[in-house]
Symmetry: C2
Subunit: 218 residues, 2 copies
C-alpha cells in the first residue's frame, strides 16, 4: 500500500512566532517527502514577517507557497501563535480560511496563541483546548464556549490538537505524527531530530510560571 | 549603560534545515529587539529553500535581508546544517563569507552539519567541535585539523560554539546567551519559550543512537 503524502499546511500571518511554525514543520519534514509535503499558506503571495521582523528593517520572513484562496484542502492545518495574533483576530479572511479548512482537514493543530484564532473562528466550540502560558488570560477572555485547560503541554480533543507555548508545538507535532502514522514513526522522528520528546500531554513544566510569565507582558 | 543590540546573522543556503536555523533564532528573538536583532544572510536576494523545499514545488523558503557582499559584520554568526551542506561545501563565496565574519564576530555558532562548513572554511583549525550524530562520519572525514567530540550536546571552544543535530541548536543558543548576557537572561529566555533547557553540554542523549542514525542515511 502506498498512501499519498500527508499535506501539512502551515498558516502564516504577520507577526507569527518562528518556532511555533518551524518546530512542528521540522518534525513533519523528518518524515520525508514520500510521507509529508509542506505548504506555506498566507493571505497574499508576498513574504510574511515573523514576530521578530515586525516594525524592524530585518528579521525572518517566509515566502508563501499559496494563498487563502488558492490553497487546496490540507490534511493537517497548523496555526502558529505570536504577537501578531491580536490583529489577526480581526482578519475575517484568515478566520474564514480556518473555518473552511477545519471542515475537511484530518487534523487542526495550533501552537501558543494560535488556539485563540481557532476559538475566534468558532471551530473549538464545545471543545477542550490549551494555549500559551504567558498570555493564557487572553485565551480565556475569548467569548467562545471553549474549556480552557491550564495544566497541559497540549490538549487533544477529536481532530483538534492545541499546544501550550512556543516549544510545546514540537511535542504536540510528534503526538499528531503518532496519531496519524503510529508511535514508532513519532519515535524515529524525534530521534532523527535529536529531540527529547516530552510525551506526557497532561504534564506542563511551565504551568507554575503562569503568573510570573503573565507579569512579563502586563 | 545601554548597549547596542546584538546583531545575530543567520546564514542561509539552499537545503538548510529549518529547525537548525529557526530554533536558535527563536531563542535570540526572545531577548527582544532592544537586546538582539536578526539578519538573514544569503548569497543572493532571492528566497532560499529549506531542505524540505528542495526539488519540490512547495515548502518553507526564507527571504534574506542581505547578501554575503552587503551584510555588515555580525556579533553572532549562526550556521545551520542540513542536506544542503554537501553542495555548500563547494561554494567558495559561502566559505569566504564564513572566514571573513569569523575574524570579527564575537561568537561563531553552528548546528548539525553546519560545523562541517566551518571546518571546510578552516576556522575550526586546532579547535574542538561536534556535529550531527546521523552524519557524524561526514564531519570526521573532513581534511581539517579539528578534534571532533562524539559525546557532546554542544562544544564551546573559544568563540566557537558547535552543536549536535537539529534540536541541539536550541540548547547551544541558550548557552551562547548565557555566555554573552548571563545565566539569568538564558533562564528567562528558556522559560518564555516554554523550553526545557538541556544545559549539560557534555551529555548527549543521542550519542547511543549514532550507529542506528548513520544507518538511516547509508
Amino acid at each position: 500500500m502506498t498512501d499519498a503524502p500527508l499535506t501539512v499546511g502551515g498558516l502564516v500571518y504577520p507577526g507569527f512566532e518562528m518556532l511555533d511554525l518551524f518546530g512542528p514543520l521540522e518534525m513533519f519534514s523528518m518524515l520525508g517527502p514520500e510521507r509529508a509535503r509542506i505548504l506555506i499558506i498566507g493571505e497574499g503571495s508576498a513574504a510574511v514577517p515573523s514576530a521578530m521582523a515586525m516594525d524592524l528593517t530585518s528579521g525572518p520572513k517566509v515566502q508563501p507557497d499559496c494563498t487563502f484562496d488558492s490553497a487546496p484542502g490540507v490534511d493537517v492545518l497548523l496555526v502558529p501563535g505570536g504577537f501578531g495574533t491580536l490583529p489577526a483576530l480581526e482578519n475575517d479572511a484568515l478566520l474564514n480560511f480556518i473555518q473552511r479548512q477545519a471542515e475537511t482537514a484530518r487534523i487542526v493543530a495550533s501552537v501558543c496563541t494560535g488556539s485563540v484564532l481557532l476559538a475566534r473562528a468558532g471551530v473549538l466550540n464545545g471543545r477542550r483546548a490549551t494555549s500559551n502560558k504567558q498570555l493564557f488570560a487572553r485565551a480565556t477572555a475569548e467569548q467562545a464556549p471553549v474549556t480552557w485547560v491550564e495544566n497541559a503541554r497540549w490538549v487533544e480533543d477529536s481532530k483538534f490538537f492545541t499546544s501550550s507555548g512556543v516549544s510545546a508545538g514540537m511535542d504536540m507535532a510528534l503526538a499528531v505524527i503518532a496519531h496519524l502514522l503510529g508511535e514508532e514513526a513519532a519515535e524515529r522522528t524525534a530521534t532523527a531530530a535529536e529531540y527529547t520528546w516530552h510525551r506526557d500531554a497532561n504534564s506542563d513544566p511551565f504551568v507554575s510560571h503562569l503568573n510570573e510569565l503573565a507579569d512579563l507582558v502586563s
